[in-house]
């Protein structure tokens, strides 16, 4: 088994890991639908979107690894960062690692994440890091489509049959406690804002609530009440689910180091 790598704790690297890991784990959960979506057309659509997110993760993790070297540390490539880090070194938001649930939960989560990522990429398009700005310029188009696709489903299911409405409501109850983490600020956000690398994620809160709230209203769904609970995936303290995701995702590279198709 190849040893796990340790990544730079520099705030800029950490900021990029939060973005890249959120895309990567989100993609991994979406890809679980391959062969299981309710219709073959959706199966293809979900796989497409998972691949979009993997592309975004590759670009951002690749940049994070380069940045480590630029800051005087050891460089890592995107594969090392994806497959050779331990759970505690992943910086994704907790919401993306939750089990995929039913189709209603997947669509609500896709919608929430697509709106969030769209706002984030919009902010990152003005990044002081030219490469990150270029990645964001391309990714924002993908996020816009992901939002359109998921929002359509949220409305269809929420404002659909009594069964689909009940499932949507239940899914929203499961996801809602993990939304607040997206907009929690810390020293890493402050450093990113100061260096011009990217926006504080708290700056995205109002825009997100406006856009997601509009989708919920059209879907005849109501946002659950805010609670004091805060998930902490961005700081590396994850739910019990991420370990299983990583076990599956990392198995091949850990068992056959450097293996390629």
């Amino acid at each position: 088994m190849p040893a796990s790598i340790t990544v730079s704790s520099h705030p800029s690297v950490q900021y990029l890991l939060r973005i890249g890991d959120t895309c990567l784990i989100h993609a991994q959960r979406l890809a679980e639908w391959s062969g299981h979506a309710p219709i073959v057309e959706e199966d293809i659509a979900l796989a497409n979107m998972a691949l979009d997110l993997i592309g975004q993760a590759r670009a951002v993790l690749g940049r994070a690894g380069e940045l480590e070297a630029e800051l005087g540390g050891e460089a890592h490539d995107e594969d090392q960062l994806a497959f050779l880090r331990d759970e505690r070194d992943f910086r994704n938001c907790t919401i993306v690692e939750l089990p995929r649930g039913d189709f209603a939960l997947t669509m609500l989560r896709n919608c929430a994440l697509a709106i969030f990522l769209k706002l984030l990429w919009d902010g990152l398009a003005a990044s002081s890091d030219g490469q990150l700005a270029a990645i964001a310029g391309k990714a924002v188009k993908e996020a816009r489509y992901h939002e359109e696709h998921a929002a359509g489903w949220v409305v269809r299911l929420g404002d659909g049959t009594s069964e689909s409405a009940a499932r949507s409501k239940a899914a929203l109850d499961v996801l809602w406690p993990y939304v607040a983490e997206l907009f929690e600020d810390d020293a890493i956000d402050a450093a990113a804002a100061a260096s011009g690398l990217g926006p504080r994620w708290s700056e995205l809160r109002d825009g997100w609530h406006a856009a997601f709230g509009a989708v919920l209203a059209a879907a005849a769904l109501e946002a659950p009440a805010e609670r004091a609970f805060r998930s902490t995936g961005k700081a590396g303290r994850h739910s019990e689910h991420l370990g299983y995701v990583l076990a599956e995702m990392q198995h091949l590279q850990r068992a056959y180091p450097g293996g390629v198709w």
């Binding site: 057309e41 659509a45 489509y145």
Partner: protein, 96 residues
Amino acid sequence: MSERNEWPLWEVFVRSKAGLDHKHCGSLHAADPQMAIQLARDVYTRRQEGTSVWVVRSDQITASDPGEKSSYFDPMEDKVYRHPTFYVLPKSLDHM
């Protein structure tokens, strides 16, 4: 599956680039026009095949009857004079 629960079928037409025709490329099931457009995008333009997509509900298309193929199309078989093959074209037009 009962008909009540089955989503309607849509025919998908994709235009590969501006100036060209929309070409029929397949069909898919979707609940409404918006979903049909989105799914057409996901199923039929994954490899940059398109710049524009049309969808038409399959039941809105009136088609010729396969049973009438013999009376509709077979009579054209021996009318070679309808092909413009008796004109001699300049060599520079060899792609006509």
